[in-house]
Subunit: 210 residues, 2 copies
Amino acid sequence: MSATAEAAAPASAKARAILEAAAELFITQGYGAVSMDAVARRAGVSKATLYAHFGAKDRLFAAIIQNACAEMRGETPEMGPAGASLFDAMLPMAIRWLSFLLRERSLGMFRVVVAEGARFPELARAFHENGPRATRQWLTGWLAAQAARGLLDAPDPALAADQCLALLRSEMFLQATLGIGAMPDEAAIAASAAAAMRTFCRAYERPRGA
Amino acid sequence: MSATAEAAAPASAKARAILEAAAELFITQGYGAVSMDAVARRAGVSKATLYAHFGAKDRLFAAIIQNACAEMRGETPEMGPAGASLFDAMLPMAIRWLSFLLRERSLGMFRVVVAEGARFPELARAFHENGPRATRQWLTGWLAAQAARGLLDAPDPALAADQCLALLRSEMFLQATLGIGAMPDEAAIAASAAAAMRTFCRAYERPRGA
DNA sequence: TGCAAACTAGACTGTACAGTTCAGTTTACC
DNA sequence: GGTAAACTGAACTGTACAGTCTAGTTTGCA
């Protein structure tokens, strides 16, 4: 077991090709189902090269997850126009975030981390910190700011953020995670996000005359 | 691939021992990490017997999931006293349900179904129907009844049920699923469930004077 | 008591796969 | 043009494991 990460930025073109091919395979098929031969074949690279860059299968897997985590950090959401109502401000970010969660790549990543969390606990932690936790932290700050402006009645902004994100991660996300039913289209995603935000705002928006 | 279920009730004592041992192993370690030798050893049974009862590894796996699904169906929640407030009625069921979700066995089951959902789509579906979907259906009915009694303002009870369950499946459940952090104790679970129900009621409870 | 079915231990087959090795080729760079 | 490093292809080793087979033992039942 040697699942510590490589440098986030892969040096050579070959290394990048390997990372990309391996990410594709691991994320769609899972760790156990992917052979190193398959990775080498897909990357258009010899096995020797593969092993020269990443010394072992678990190291390659770790590098992929770390890499994906770095990408996730780039995905900071944005908020709607400042003067708008709470709902109007939150809806676009809710749609964006739910769309991100429902991308095949995000779902695959989540699945593989859940599946291999026991074998690679530090990867599960890294995933959580760079994904869910980072989003939560960002949203907590934003909600606290809205509370300070009097738009929101949230004595515990971190809890409110949790619940906001939980509302978005509802039945639709559960089904997608399990690979059940058709992938929801844009309209369905928007509708689900809107329903979540409507409920969130009903619970948390400060009444007009308070 | 032959992942159709055995009869739900295993006939002989040996078959039951195999199912139990295999469930323990598959659910804690995942499908790929468990060898048939290990199952036979743990069940105190020869490999020949194992193969006599369940013809192949995937069939054994299917039988286990089907079996666990049948158990889940037994776990129908109960509601608090009828005359109580919405919150008081819902809190006990919320705590019970969240406790159930956070049991090692439930988490392991969820993990393994998520991990193997691509390989065994019909099992993912069975899991969903007997677990999340059954709960959702039951809760939808209950919420519709409360809405009819005027306690609740939920024009779409199924959506309300989704959101109620999503609120319970929040950060605490996510972390537990990823195997991160200490397992929450009873008090933490109760607090999380209460927070979820408070938010749910704030969004959905019909105002007193309406 | 005797038979049939269930069971056992463990050896065996075949295959898939992680990881290594090596002789030879390409590429980059001075 | 020379050389060092990166790379290739393919063969190779060792191991883990699914599934089979056999020869013999236990158990349930008439």
